[in-house]
Amino acid sequence: MSTNLRPLVIALGLLAIWQAVVWLSGVPPFILPGPGLVSAKLVEDAPLLLHHAGVTLSEILLGMLLGTFFGSLFAISMVLSQGLRAWLLPLLVISQAIPVFALAPILVLWLGYGLASKVAMAALIIFFPVTAALLDGLRRADPGQLDLARTMGASRLSTLVHVQLPAALPAFASGLRVAAAVAPIGAVVGEWVGSSAGLGHLMLHASGRMQIDLMFAALLVLAVIAIGLYALVSWLGGRLTPWRSERDR
């Protein structure tokens, strides 16, 4: 089957299963609305959904930028300096040991109901996967190539730029794919704890008013954002590492 058609077939299959569950179980629409009802809601409330989707998407994107920036900074510092690594590694582990969800109320308290607390949540949740992936990639550079660079009179920095960073790109791209998948979770959890806009906020309010079809519509939009982001990051990763696809001859 063509790889272009496969996602479409999977999406249609899931919709069919959803509709089948609605029909076979006889669950009333205020518990589980069918795809038809939710589609109607998607169209009817499109401006509302788009507005909140825009807020959530900005939180996710800003969080990814921030988390990737600090994650890369952390990983590169750890590779450049043994001394720094001894200090930063425990910090990295601690950053992962504290459940980010438990931090959500504190972040909302500190940073307010606006964008900042959700950006911080998304950044925190992707910090560990991004840092760990890049660190792993940087440390997996071929020791022979590093030796060669040394005999060529390369400085630490130029070795990093010309040898280690390109070698780490595939691992870094994997880290970013994980980040794209989990960043929306961070943003939405942040919105649930306290917010005035965003898809998480919309879902919470819809749930309070028993607007179950709106909840599902928001959920669908969120899924589309997450999948789109993942596909984009995957595609970018592939574009940045073209030599990987030709490795196996």
Binding site: D142, D147, T151, M152, G153, H162, P242, R249
Partner: protein, 260 residues
Amino acid sequence: MSSNMDSASASYTDTHPPAPALEIAGAAVVFDGEELFSGLDLTLEGGRITCLLGPSGVGKSTLLRFIAGLAEEASGTVRLSDGSAVAPKLAYMAQHDLLLPWLSARDNVLLGARLRGQTPDIARAESLLADLGLADAATLRPAKLSGGMRQRVALARTLYEDRPIVLMDEPFSSLDAVTRHGLQALAAERLKGRTVLLVTHDPLEALRLGQRILLLAGKPAQLREVAPPAGPPPRDLQAVGMGEAHAALMASLQAAKEAQ
């Protein structure tokens, strides 16, 4: 450094002052808590190919890495007969091509210049590649090249560095016999006039290329001279006396291996 298109195939001695000798004194290296050798003295005559043979694990590669300044837990001195610093005068070629998979053949040849922040001499890199029969491969990435082609790119990268001292660690050992034979001749030709230390486990390679042959054996390892065949490298393996020389060298290697 000349960007003259003819420089690629010209002999080193035509365009450079004679390559200095490399003097190693009191070399001692500990590897995995074990002393591989200590108090090792060796002078590599300038402008000649010295082949270093020995059983595996004896410390051939480690001696090479020591000279290149890559060995940890090492002591001893390495100096050049002209008194200049060693590191900027040497080029290193390993068993694996060590090509960066994301760079084209040409950019791999230019790696040293990029790493040192120098302006890459693209014309020279291309003429070196063309000279080694890789004119059409300059823009291809390593994954698109055969093993022999990759090692030729590595040779071009070594030649681009244009250093009087060249250290080679079994550079042909991962190639098939035919490719290896061709590349040995090519390397001997292009490295003529430089001070070369070639580590190998192949006695035929040493007989073919070595103007001096050394056997590293024992624990801690010591060096022993083996008389090289007459004539300039690359030598014809069918020549009279090659068979006897090979048999004698094999016997020495065998004895060295049993003494391990």
